[in-house]
Symmetry: C2
């Protein structure tokens, strides 16, 4: 759709600007309360209208009113009078989704939703905010990133930080639900330092699929991973690998290497950095920053640097020291089963058994995993990250030590529901996956050419041709044509103009790449027919095909079916 | 899906409860810091695991840990030690959507979204919170109902109160977008006194479709109303009427009757109550409460009590007094055009031209409308509302003076975008509709029998039959069958159990009304075949049909196609 009647504005603009200037001057000199003036001016306009003053009189007063209201908006922004554009923004770290971006985003949502449902997933929709105490003590030091609602009396609430804790809260609230496959696609909120271009937002989407319930070991885990693989394949994110590890293997490693139990978590997070940093630096962190003995650190390195396929499991098993750890050997059984199941699902080749994967969150109790694309991991493991950050001038975009990060992740968390539950039967083991929409979006958006995305889905544009004083513009006929098309589920538009020009109508149809036009001229009317034209054809000469009004819908349905 | 392994819990419960008691006692007596204790106990567990203590030993410590964490949750709720269920709730005026409710809700969303797209609508997604100043001065006295975010440093923000103001803010931010059909289905937030059963929530959904841009008069208005009619028809909300009026006709009425311009809005809101109260009471409010002269009030009554079909327009035109008002006679032209267009769209019969419709919001500038069902309006107009509210014991549910209210509404607002815009070209006239999901949901939910709603969409449940020690349970085979089904887009599940009982599998399939079962026994395996059984048939004896493994997918696809 194009704009017409632009003159409607252009004629008014000079007056508008004048009055705006005049009023701003008055405002600053007289400096009277604006709200007062706005309502006063509002009454002036209403009175004039009701008394039937001439249109141009009323318009002038309306403009004054608008000018006042503009000043009011400007004013509400703590006095930066000259430029009120700062009021015209979304809050820091948030964005509007529209046009082709929102179309691609919807495509991603539909793709994963179809897969979630194919596996028996049902959706759960929780409020965007929770009681503050529900989120308390779930995110460790990240809790400082939680958005709180202002205390306006009543309960204290916070915006949800993820979809997992609300799911656990819901499970604890509904003890009758002893098992469920639930998916939830929604926004979560973190008061983090945003980096919009890198898809790091304060308001961002998570696409979660979780399986809750007590089942035979590793079967739900394997289906959760199957869902992850199907999703990444269907989204065509390109080549990816799913790193996988088991918390109890890590616990075993740290135990047999002699890491003091109070250091386990912090050493674990150091290990997690091995995808970004070389071992030497991680070791330095362990020994210098975290006071681990060098000997223990070296022992750890013999394990955490290992990665490979299923065969690595045998290697670990044959390690007498590690297999002396019951938690590790219990985990070996799990992994054996899991690999069997992943093989049955035909997805074993997607996985890399990676001892350096540790994951930040505390609440994981079993397998953990992370999907990475080629862009995720840094090309070289070096300390250039630190160096370049010391030199703010350095261009980081080519710094191979910086990766995109994971596009999906998850794991098993068997104790989270229990944290909410005094009721005995509310302990529900869970395993789940979470896809990061913004990162997947950024990968796909950069790859898909703009012209391959249509911002709307309209199939047909109903156009009127003709001209001259006596020409009616066939508005009624266009409306009735669209009426018939809509009734038959065909997406159709027409130009909101009584007597449109052909050019305007073609441009409007082209703007959204509408594939077909219905052309209505006096000839067609006389023959009680319409002309159906395929748009976007080089030969503008193409006249399209003449179809009787009665056959119009049928012909279009066939054309649309065949063109898809 | 049913629950198995419940013993996994029952065996532990006694211990669990004991340790819970023990620890609660200690907590209150010793009263040591819980967080300290939790992390300490966490280390105990980790150490035991890594040292490979016997399973039951570890379990005991884990239970202590859980007990501690439960106390922690309980504690965070300001000391109601005995019952921490109050932490297990959603905030006041909010709810979780799940099971059949969410399925019906999704159906409503899909129905209206399809219609919005059919008319060329594109969606816009704005952040759930806006800069506080964006919402300031848009909602009159209702502004007190706006949720603010806590000031945690940085910008002051508020949760969106509707979808219209964010849309106007976006239009002002994007002056290049001179016209658009945008739809937005999302939650909005109002700190109102909730009445959940009546669908009055603090967090609730709006489904908005708006047409922005300068076009020939009343054409977009008529399509917005066409979209509204298509939506209500497709949703099958039952018999409904769309009351319609024009702000400038009301302005004209108030003017020619001599209402002082400073009283116009308040008198207008009094008129708006005529659907709930008899004229005598409305008049009383005008005269006694709002100081209007009785003579003027009586004059008003000659107009605002009028309602009818298109013919009413001629009646008003022929009224010399009213047609002396230019704002009214301008509106008459609008209504004439609109009625023509509604007729072209074949929806004129849905409308009631109703002079008593005034609508609350200040920002409407042209036509206004409101869709009501038979349940919306009170059966009798009386003052019993006041009476019964004086008697709190009275049962209101049968009070015919209380209606459900409108299920959709909207109107033309040409000046809202301008309120944000200092830029001259940012003045964009708009017309739109908004459907209230919760009210429509409550109408449909009460009408649709539970058994007609399926909570998940699974088509096939893969089952294993057999038994005995040497029986494998065909887990691998079930996984591969589901694999093939998923690959072909067939929604399928299997029981997460290595050796499931037939009963468990049938119950799991019945729970969600899965239409087909694939049955796998030794016979089928030997013949490299499967048995496809239609579920829910009375004759439990039905053996189903034997199909070769190779034909399985094809046969199921045909069965599913024919059963839809």
């Amino acid at each position: 759709m194009l704009t017409f009647n632009r003159h409607l504005f252009t004629t008014k603009l000079p007056t508008f600007c004048r009055s705006l200037k005049t009023w701003s001057r008055r405002m600053t000199t007289v400096g009277q309360d604006i709200n007062e003036r706005v309502s006063a001016q509002g009454n002036v306009v209403r009175t004039l209208k009701s008394q039937g003053a001439p249109k141009n009189e009323i318009d002038k007063e309306v403009e004054k009113l608008l000018a006042l209201k503009n000043l009011k908006v400007g004013e509400s922004g703590s006095g930066k009078k000259k430029d009120n554009s700062f009021t015209l923004k979304t809050p820091k770290g948030t964005k509007d989704w529209y046009d082709k971006d929102v179309v691609l985003r919807e495509h991603i949502f539909k793709t994963v939703t179809d897969i979630f449902k194919r596996h028996g997933g049902v959706t759960l929709d929780t409020p965007v905010f929770e009681l503050k105490e529900i989120l308390a003590g779930k995110y460790g030091e990240d809790s400082k990133l939680i958005y709180d609602l202002k205390d306006q009396g009543g309960e204290l609430c916070s915006l949800r930080y993820d979809l997992t804790v609300p799911f656990a809260r819901w499970l604890a609230m509904n003890p009758k639900v002893t098992n469920i496959k639930r998916y939830h696609i929604a926004k979560v909120y973190r008061r983090d330092q945003p980096a919009m271009t890198k898809g790091r937002m304060r308001e961002f989407y998570q696409c979660d699929f979780d399986i809750a319930g007590s089942f035979d070991p590793m079967i739900p885990d394997s289906e959760a991973l199957k869902v992850l693989v199907e999703s990444l394949d269907a989204l065509e994110v390109g080549k990816y690998t799913i790193k996988i590890n088991h918390r109890q293997i890590l616990d075993g490693i740290f135990a047999v290497c002699g890491v003091p139990s109070d250091k386990v978590r912090t050493i674990s997070s150091a290990v997690d950095k091995l995808d970004k940093l070389p071992w030497e630096e991680v070791k330095r962190e362990m020994v210098v920053e975290k006071g681990l003995s060098e000997e223990v650190a070296d022992k750890i390195s013999e394990y955490v640097l290992l990665k490979g396929d299923r065969s690595l499991l045998e290697k670990l098993r044959s390690d007498s020291l590690l297999s002396s750890s019951p938690s590790a050997s219990a985990a070996f059984k799990d992994m054996d089963l899991l690999f069997d199941y992943l093989e049955s699902f035909g997805i074993l080749d997607k996985f890399s058994f990676d001892m350096s994967l540790a994951r930040g969150l505390d609440y994981y109790t079993g397998i953990i995993y992370e999907a990475v694309t080629e862009a995720s991991a840094p090309k070289v493991k070096s300390s250039t990250e630190k160096k370049s950050s010391e030199d703010p001038e350095a261009d980081r975009s080519n710094d191979d030590s910086i990766g995109v990060g994971s596009i999906a992740a998850g794991g098993r968390y068997d104790n989270l529901v229990g944290m909410f539950a005094a009721k005995k039967n509310s302990q529900v083991p869970c395993v789940g996956i979470s896809l990061g929409l913004e990162r997947i979006f950024s990968i796909l958006r950069s790859r898909i050419p703009d012209e391959e995305i249509r911002a709307n889905e309209v199939d047909v544009f109903a156009m009127a041709f003709g001209g001259g004083k006596e020409w009616t513009g066939f508005l009624k006929e266009r409306m009735q044509i669209c009426n018939d098309l809509w009734k038959n589920g065909i997406k159709a538009e027409f130009l909101y103009k009584a007597k449109p020009k052909p050019r305007q109508q073609f441009d409007a149809a082209d703007r959204y790449g509408v594939p077909f036009a219905i052309i209505l001229g006096q000839d067609e009317i006389d023959q009680n027919a319409v002309r159906i034209k395929r748009m976007g054809l080089k030969e503008k000469s193409d006249e399209g095909q003449l179809v009787s009004r009665a056959d119009m819908v049928k012909v279009l349905q066939d054309l649309l079916a065949s063109s898809n």
